[in-house]
Amino acid sequence: QGAGAVCPSCGGPTLAPQAERALVLELAKQQILDGLHLTSRPRIIHPLPQAALTRALRRLQPGSMAPVNGEEIISFAANTESSTATCSSMLTFHLSTPQFHHLYYARLWLHVRPTLPGTLYVRIFHWGPRRKRQGSRTLLAEHQMTTPGWHALALPSSGLRGEESGVLKLQLDCRPLEGNNSAARPPRRLLNTTGDQRPFLELKIQPNEPGAGRTRRR
């Protein structure tokens, strides 16, 4: 603003169209970053497979309003350490959940392969680091699945506190529930844990109520 220049909102001179357009684009960038509480635009290092993205967008019920000042998040399993057994795996998620936010809804989406022989019994553990080398695990939920395809497994949101590092590890411990002839057959992959049908978390968070911490302390 040069000396004597008046803010356009108070009747000052209007800008030349090109200058106005350039100013508008800069304003838009600033307004969006401020609105998303970001200091700069995110660098997308590993673009997601389009099919996985499309499925995620379908989950986020288009048109449904996110909770006031809240957020809905879809987080894909970053890398999966699969054991050679049928489907027990360690899923790793990167969640930079903003501080002072309250997680109140959590679903783990798993894709069961068509090779499912009968009923699949799955236990889901939260894998937390412990001071000693090996980690500690806390049972979050157990489910039985009898059909192939996508399954949304409800998780207790209280059990999913992300670690300081923003990394959340879930351990899947599963086995087919079927007659004793299972011993005869070699274990087969029963869950998709990579590619377009990798597991993902569907989360909903919203800012903590002001003073919530005090209530808890009291």
């Binding site: 508008v24 684009l25 838009a28 609105g35 995110p42 006031v68 879809i74 987080s75």
Partner: protein, 114 residues
């Protein structure tokens, strides 16, 4: 509030549609494809000060005329937003997660004189 025409000197709403492709941000903002970045500009002579928008009610028009005939100490009245709405954005965060959030007061819908 009228949309500003080039010759409109009075307080009005200037409409600008910003396409995220034009910002080079379409790789991380998944939806929508762009949004209305409107802002308010124009003059607010004393008789319009305090009016919620040009389409003010008859009462406030008369009230404004009274004000104009008894000028109060000169204070600058500015053309400011009087109604705004949120914008729902779906974007990829730095960890590659898909985040959906509603940003409040993102789009200016009406302007008026402060």
């Amino acid at each position: 509030t009228p949309t500003c025409e080039p010759e409109t000197p009075l307080c009005c709403r200037r409409d600008h549609y910003v396409d995220f492709q034009e910002l080079g941000w379409q790789d991380w903002i998944l939806q929508p494809e762009g949004y209305q970045l409107n802002y308010c500009s124009g003059q607010c002579p004393p008789h319009l000060a305090g009016s919620p928008g040009i389409a003010a009610s008859f009462h406030s028009a008369v009230f404004n005329l009274l004000k104009a005939n008894n000028p109060w100490p000169l204070g600058t009245s500015c053309c400011v937003p009087t109604a705004r709405r949120p914008l729902s954005i779906l974007y990829l965060d730095r960890d590659g997660n898909v985040v959906k959030t509603d940003v409040p007061d993102m789009v200016v819908e009406a302007c008026g004189c402060s």
